[in-house]
Amino acid sequence: MASTTFPRTEVPEGLPFFRTREFGSIVHRVVTYTLLVVLSLVFLFPFFWMITSALKPEQQIFLWPPQWIPDPVMWSNFREAFSNPLLPFHIFFRNTMILEIGIISGRLISCTLVAYGFARLDAPGKEILFGILLATLMLPSVVTQIPRFILFTEIGWVNSYRPLIVPAWFGEAYAIFLMRQFFLTIPRELEEAARIDGANTFRTIASIIVPLSLPVLTVIGILSFKDIWNEFFNPLLYLNDLTLYPLAVGLAYFNGQFDVQMSELMAASVVVLLPVVIVFFIAQKAFVEGISLTGLAGR
């Protein structure tokens, strides 16, 4: 039998159309797209519901069948939500940005250094250390939370941002792993040229490695931005004053009040998640690449 002929690709004459391959692929495409459209509407529906609820007059919120399009559109719900003394939005926003800047800068600087060590320098015990690094990727945080809390209480750091920011300056396993993988693809010759010119290791990292690694640094920066924005457990644990809360904790606090209007609550939720969504649309490629790379850690 000659393997160069493909008998299946020849459509037999006289076969009814609904049994041909073309028909099969049309059905396949119709089914695929129908499912895609229906499911994406299902996934987006909660957002639609949130936005319309945020824009409805309070009495239209409780109508059934629902008032799909708010009439009149109450932009004032947003103003009211943020003039509510229980929701000092500008303070929460400022607090979140302090955490973002403190944590992202610490993570990028420390992880670059550590990843460079793992990617370029040799030392006895390096392999074991890298194994430990990979193992910590899966380490559940549950056993470290209580003693960390006690430690930070003892040194008087509770109710400040230090317990949230300082640990970020000691590297983070996942970011180190991603950076190391990236550094390994940078040709060594580029560094040697700099070294001959008399640059030391730290100068080399700053002048050669960092500029070439902007893609991976962006990915880590953007994913960190999202994680810090959404972080709830640690800020909840360490911050006691309303004036120190970041947005996620502030929203949970607002949600816990008895006399909150639903339209105000939805307006607050929209504003809390909007910045991340905007960043996602601007840096979609970095998001998708970063998450896709996550799977590599398991290989």
Binding site: I132, V142, V143, I146, W169, N230, L236, A248, S269
Partner: protein, 321 residues
């Protein structure tokens, strides 16, 4: 005698090499120092300390007193909250992990089959995953509102009386399970990357051999994707067992009790949080934390061990040849 090299010169160059190696090693430790220090300060140190604490009774105010195994004995013999939290977490994980992975895989396959508009659909499925868990919890409390929420409204159209969801102890956990399937965008993207990595020639060869879509899926897609499935499975289990945010926000808002109504959403982490940080029984909470840690460790190891049976690895196949 230009070709002979004196022994002294050899020794000198070796010494030079070893000094160089030593200098490189020193530099390595300088570079990784932040992480090593962090590992000791924030991970290993705390772990050892919490292990010690788990054998003590401590309310922070007075010095910890050594009680031996008493905390552990009490947990297993006279702590209904422990068993309740274990049950809630187990039921949630058993239903939410397969639901999440199934949904993520199904969406990834659909996206992989599509040719046009992939970006739009991918965005629609992924966006819920970047939403803060607090905002998602607030939103879903409203979506699943028993009287005014659209889900029960829709069920009403079908003639079904919708349940009380987060206010009904029988349904609160199921509300959280359903909600968890909404945020599978990350897993979906990882699956999608895995699907894209399957070489096309495998499908072409199978098609020539007359394999239909289902067979190609079962005998090519699934085995080739099994390392990705494995990764997502391990990470989802670890995540599900440590569920906290949404359950905390939903149960403490309005009802004002952690894990309510009637402890129906008392996840393991909620119970630990309540005992450690609300009741300040640090020793007892540390024992609870160590038990969860061991549970996660054992389950992860079981999944890893089982993976030799069901995860297809290229290297393994090469070796068998």
């Amino acid at each position: 005698m230009a070709t002979t090299v004196s022994p002294a010169a050899i020794a000198g160059s070796q010494r030079g090499k070893s000094t160089l190696a030593r200098r490189e090693a020193t530099l390595f430790w300088v570079c990784v120092a932040p992480w090593v220090l962090g590992l000791i300060l924030w991970t290993i140190g705390p772990m050892l300390y919490s292990l010690y604490l788990s054998f003590t009774d401590w309310n922070i105010l007075t010095a910890p007193t050594w009680v031996g195994l008493r905390n552990y004995i009490r947990i297993f013999t006279q702590d209904p909250d422990f068993f309740q939290s274990l049950k809630v977490t187990a039921v949630y994980s058993v239903f939410s992990v397969p639901l999440r992975l199934g949904t993520a895989l199904f969406l990834a396959i659909l996206l992989n089959e599509a040719t046009r508009g992939v970006g739009i659909f991918r965005t629609a499925f992924y966006i819920p995953a970047i939403v803060s868990s607090v905002a998602a919890a607030v939103l879903w409390t409203w979506i699943l509102n028993p009287r005014f929420g659209p889900v029960n409204g829709f069920l009403g159209l079908l003639g079904i009386e919708g349940p009380g969801w987060f206010s009904d102890p029988q349904y609160a956990l199921w509300g959280l399970v359903i909600m968890s399937a909404w945020g599978v965008g990350g897993e979906m993207l990882i699956f999608l990357a895995g699907l894209k990595g399957i070489p096309n020639h495998l499908f072409e060869a199978a098609e020539i051999d007359g394999a239909d879509r289902l067979n190609r899926f079962l005998h090519i897609t699934i085995p080739m994707l099994s390392p990705t499935i494995f990764f997502n499975l391990v990470m989802s289990i670890i995540g599900a067992l440590q569920t906290f945010d949404a359950a905390y926000v939903i149960s403490t808002a309005r009802a004002g009790t952690i894990g309510g109504p009637v402890k129906s959403t008392l996840f393991y982490m909620l119970n630990v949080y309540d005992i450690a940080f609300a009741k300040q029984r640090m020793g007892y909470a540390a024992s609870l934390a160590w038990i969860l840690f061991l549970i996660i460790l054992v389950i992860t190891l079981l999944v890893v061990r089982s993976s030799t049976v069901w995860v297809f690895s290229e290297a393994e196949r090469e070796r068998r040849r």
